[in-house]
Amino acid sequence: MRRWVSRLPCLLLCGAAMAVHAGTLTVTAIDSHGLPVGDAVVTIDRANPLAAANTHYIDQKGETFIPYVEVMHPGDSVVFRNSDHTRHHVYSFSPIGAFQFILSPGESSAPVVLDRSGIIAVGCNIHDHMIAYLVVTADQAQLTTGQGQARFDGLPAGRYTVKLWHPQLAPGRPPMSATVDVPAEGAAPALPIALRLLPDPRSVVDREHLDY
């Protein structure tokens, strides 16, 4: 048995498919063409179990940040690594994590500890088309895979508020939200709802669209 309750109108226009198994919640994000959407951050309103702080690595290859989106928890740190053959000037002007590093090829930054929850946009002051996002949250969070799925295992039965955010959703709006009951056992068919995404801002270098 599964029950959906829409908490925000935007979920009616764009959303996710959720299938609940015993103790398991799977969220499937698809775009308006029915294709899976990766790099969406799905959170549930349960605190992340206390664990040692992690160090996350953001690489730079082919003038692209890899990964595009990284999920972190307060107290985690991030290191930027330059695997390109050109310099990068990594920076953020986010109020919850402002920093800047000039990285020569092969160089890595000092770790940046992020203590506050929020979304941090990261750019390169030399290459404007490079962008990445650090999503810092105290809740349990998963990133959708290339198949568009985020899965939470071992959940106690109960009602959960699920939120979904993607960097290409229209900015300035609250994340999509829904409540779902996770039963003790049983599963239900998925409910596919499309996300309406803006174009990917990570344009590759193209002689027909120069970016200087």
């Binding site: 053959h85 000037h89 920076y91 002007f93 946009a121 290409q168 174009p199 027909e208």
Partner: protein
């Protein structure tokens, strides 16, 4: 042909050898088959509004350019573009060359300063190597003229206020040596093509006009020079950007030339300064797989061509372009309207033109380095100046081009 081939090979050689860390090199070369309209093109001294115009079908070298950019320090970028053209005034010319200082900012505010030879930030079409358009071969009338006569030799300050929802921009520039901007609009009117002028280029005035003035043919004039007392021109632009590559821009340009000033050219011809001002607005956005671009321009240019009388040409143009992003295929359709009206105390100088144009292009990028384009350009225009020289005032030009462009 041999010289052309050597030039292309030389450009490619330089491009390959200079590819290094913190240095970007891009280049293009274009060869095309053109079915030209009968009306003699302005590039050949006629009144035709297309780039080509002799009524024949021939292969033409469409142009080539090399762009080099070097990140000298994390804050300092140097960029230059050189082109080679065989239409109009043949040869090499510098399209732009500037240094940009842009320190990193860890606040929403960021500033930068560019100095050198700059394109005025009018176009929302031309962001390719050599100031080409990814959508069509021929730029809109607005951006054809921008590429022909507008260049800022000076500096530009840019202030950005970056936010999650949108980014605001303010640009302000002081420049010199653009005192002839407006000459073409007053003497020729609008045109539609992709013949970009650079430092070192010369542009041609209509033969009939040059002959009527008693000057020698062909009549070329040098671009990008100062006439009269030293002065600064300026432009100011406000821009708004939102995620999804949505942009809106409003700009005012004034070269502040002295319309009564003149100077002698080599050969003894006198060239007058043109006080040119305009408002320009543009917007672009992506809706699903379609990119929409719209621009409008409204301005005037004024000069003292006679001792006690002035000419004032009011010019207006607008276009809408839709481009479909279908992977390797990129169809585009543009419709536009343009007009000029020249007023003067002397009835002989009063002229007017108006016209519409439709450009349909189909671009195919089977490889990253190769672009094939088929384009049909249809221009329907009426100009009183043509009638003055015994030509039909109303003219319909259709130009068909099949282009192969190699990109590096």
């Amino acid at each position: 042909m041999k010289y052309r081939l050597c030039s292309i090979v030389a450009v490619w050689g330089v491009a390959m050898s200079l590819h290094a860390q913190d240095t970007d090199l891009h280049a293009y070369a274009d060869e095309r088959l053109v079915a030209a309209p009968d009306d003699a093109s302005w590039t050949r001294g006629g009144f035709g509004k297309a780039r080509y115009g002799d009524g024949k079908t021939h292969f033409h070298f469409g142009g080539g350019a090399v762009l080099a950019a070097a990140q000298i320090t994390p804050e300092l970028l140097a960029l230059g573009q050189v082109q080679y053209q065989t239409s109009g005034h043949s040869g090499f010319s510098v399209l732009e060359a500037w240094l940009r200082y842009r320190p990193v900012s860890t606040t929403p505010w960021r500033w930068s300063l560019r100095a050198g030879v700059l394109f005025a930030p009018v176009s929302m079409e031309n962001d390719g190597i050599g100031w080409t358009s990814p959508w069509t071969l021929s730029s809109s009338a607005i951006n054809s003229w921008t590429g022909e006569e507008l260049r800022a030799l000076g500096s530009e300050f840019l202030l950005e206020r970056r936010g999650e929802v949108n980014t605001w921009e303010l640009r302000a520039s002081l420049f010199r040596r653009d005192d002839l901007a407006g000459t073409l609009l007053a003497t020729r009117g609008w045109a539609i093509g992709d013949l970009i002028a650079g430092i070192g280029s010369r542009l041609r005035e209509p033969d009939a006009e040059v002959s009527a003035d008693g000057d020698r043919l062909p009549g070329y004039y040098d671009l990008f020079r100062s006439i009269g007392r030293a002065h600064w021109g300026d432009y100011v632009a406000i821009g708004w950007r939102a995620p999804g590559d949505t942009r809106v821009s409003l700009m005012h340009y004034d070269n502040r030339a002295d319309p009564s000033a003149s100077a002698f050219y080599a050969g003894g011809d006198r060239e007058y300064a043109w006080r040119t001002r305009f408002w320009s607005a543009g917007a672009r956005t992506d809706i699903a797989a379609v990119t929409w671009i719209a621009q409008v321009m409204d301005g005037d240019t004024r000069s003292g061509l006679t001792v006690d009388q002035f000419l004032r040409t009011r010019y207006r143009a607008a276009f809408v372009l839709a481009g479909w992003n279908l992977g390797a295929w990129r169809p585009a359709l543009r419709i536009e309207h343009f007009s000029t009206r020249t007023s003067s105390d002397d009835p002989d100088w009063r002229q007017a033109e108006h016209g519409n144009a439709v450009t349909a292009a189909l671009n195919w990028r089977p490889r990253d380095y190769l672009r094939l384009t088929a384009e049909v350009l249809h221009i329907d225009s009426t100009a009183t100046l043509r009638a003055e020289y015994g030509l039909p005032a109303h003219q319909v030009d259709t130009q068909v081009q099949l282009s192969m462009r190699v990109l590096y």
